[in-house]
């Protein structure tokens, strides 16, 4: 079992996958770009640390190209990886200058680090295989089907995990929240009828352009409608009065203050109670 974890991973046993066939990748089976890279790397049949990163980059770019051609929707991760690999490849191919940009890691090191990540992921995949190949409880091996009830066992361990503790806490806080649920005061609106009456009352005094906020009644009590409701209903009612020809409304630009003003004296509306 342990030889599955030779540091030098050997892929001679890997399937003979033609590079073209590698495109026929079932995306469902892959978790992300790194998994695809690993699958592609295996086709090179070399130690992952001696992998040709430029070739791998080409393979991956071809994979992404092919996937897009076939209209597979690729997650953003795949495309980010593609551009990063294209960049890495170009840096690997460029003749090495005396010194690159000081803060940048040499391309060879980046390539080695990528190879390391692939090797690590490969090791974890093998670990999954090795662990799941072990005899599993209640699948392969069985403990006593009918333990004797007289013995009350593992008494030196308390059966409670941090997860359970957290879960217990959250459940209760939620319950508490529900118990104390307070829908708040009933939102009362300033009725349109009332707004119209109000406007009619003050209309005679609106001889100058007056901002809407000053026209609307002021909120007095703490219960009752909110100031926003007073303003909104006053606006609605005033638009009706505009339509009826009793008032004018103006606004300089979008979101600017609204101004209201009565029309000339003797408008018929004033006669209406």
């Amino acid at each position: 079992m342990t030889d599955a974890f030779q540091p030098n991973l050997d892929f001679t046993a890997a399937e003979q996958v033609d590079a073209r066939e590698a495109f026929v990748v079932d995306l469902e089976g892959y978790e992300g770009p790194l998994h695809v890279l690993l699958a592609l790397a295996r086709t090179q049949k070399v130690d992952l640390l001696k992998l040709s990163i430029t070739r791998l980059a080409e393979q991956y770019l071809a994979f992404v190209h092919e996937a897009r051609r076939r209209n597979f929707s690729l997650a953003a991760d795949y495309l980010v990886m593609a551009s990063w690999l294209a960049y890495l490849k170009s840096r690997l191919l460029l003749p090495r200058t005396d010194k690159g940009k000081g803060d940048e890691m040499p391309a060879e090191e980046m390539a080695a680090a990528l190879a390391f990540r692939l090797q690590k992921l490969e090791a974890m995949r093998k670990a999954v295989e090795a662990i799941t190949a072990r005899p599993q409880l209640k699948r392969d091996v069985f403990t006593r089907g009918d333990p004797e009830a007289t013995v009350i066992v593992p008494s030196d361990r308390v059966d409670a995990s941090l997860y359970e503790l957290m879960a217990a806490y959250v459940t209760q806080r939620r319950r508490e929240e529900q118990r104390h649920y307070n829908p708040g005061q009933r939102v009362e609106a300033f009725g349109l009828e009332a707004a119209r009456d109000w406007l009619r009352d003050i209309l005679p005094r609106l001889e100058e352009w007056t901002p809407l906020e000053r026209v609307a009644p002021e909120r007095r009590a703490d219960d009752g409608p909110t100031q926003a409701s007073f303003t909104a209903s006053t606006l609605s009612a005033s638009l009706e009065l505009v339509k009826e020809g009793a008032m004018d409304v103006k606004q300089a630009e979008a979101f600017a203050d609204l101004y209201l003003k009565r029309r000339g004296r003797g408008q018929p509306l004033e006669l209406v109670p």
């Binding site: 006593r144 004797e148 008494s155 957290m166 879960a167 806490y169 959250v170 508490e176």
Partner: protein, 219 residues
């Protein structure tokens, strides 16, 4: 897997495994059904019976069915250590969780979060297990005792200190809090909690609750 006809020893092994894993006693016929045709179940049972003769475990026949059971002369081992299993009840776990996050807190505060009154046994159990300790007294009418977690709590949950207690982020990560997090949901950080105005508890305090003395003595 063995493909060729199993020999006596192999049949005996299989019968042994079947009897061991079965949820109840098995008849010879039931065993035979799970073995290759013609397997000598009777012979295997006799061999097993002999093998286990005088051991800590014996093969016993009840109503024509077979089962393993521990040797009758060792029954004292089985009953002697009849301890209550240390599985925390739901109430205990919930109480512990509230104390952990809201410490120092009084009994009334615990009850207010839980919405039910706390049975006496619950706090006693947590105190007795060493998960919870008395921390002090609140300077409010009645001078209620405040509770906090004790060292064994940290040990048991593998926390190096209270600061390590998982917070909102971890609750989210563990899938315990979803998008419908109640507005203003906060988890107190018990490592920052101070005893505030609470008075320290005096050992042997006269009017301490009955369990206080035990606890103090134990510490």
């Amino acid at each position: 897997m063995i493909q060729f006809a199993p020999d006596h020893g192999e049949i005996e092994r299989r019968v042994e495994a079947l009897l061991f894993a079965a949820a109840g006693p098995l008849s010879a016929a039931e065993i035979a059904r799970r073995l290759p045709e013609g397997a000598d179940v009777g012979g295997a049972i006799s061999a097993l019976r002999e093998r286990y003769q005088g051991r800590g475990v014996e093969l016993e026949c009840v109503a024509d069915r077979w089962r393993f059971r521990t040797a009758p002369d060792l029954s004292f081992l089985m009953t002697e250590e009849r301890e209550e299993p240390r599985r925390l009840s739901k109430a205990a776990l919930e109480t512990l969780a509230i104390i952990a996050y809201h410490q120092p807190c009084t009994r009334a505060e615990i009850e207010s979060v839980r919405g039910v009154s706390l049975s006496k046994g619950t706090l006693d159990l947590l105190l007795e297990m060493g998960f919870v300790r008395l921390r002090g007294r609140r300077r409010t009418p009645g001078r209620p005792v405040t509770y906090g977690t004790a060292d064994r709590f940290l040990e048991h949950f593998g926390l190096s200190n209270l600061y390590d207690l998982p917070g909102v982020q971890e609750m989210k990560a563990a899938g315990l809090l979803d998008l419908s997090i109640p507005v203003g949901f906060e988890v107190p950080d018990p490592s920052r909690a101070t005893d505030g105005d609470d008075e320290p508890l005096l050992p042997g305090e006269e009017d301490a609750p009955e369990f206080a003395r035990d606890f103090v003595a134990e510490d």
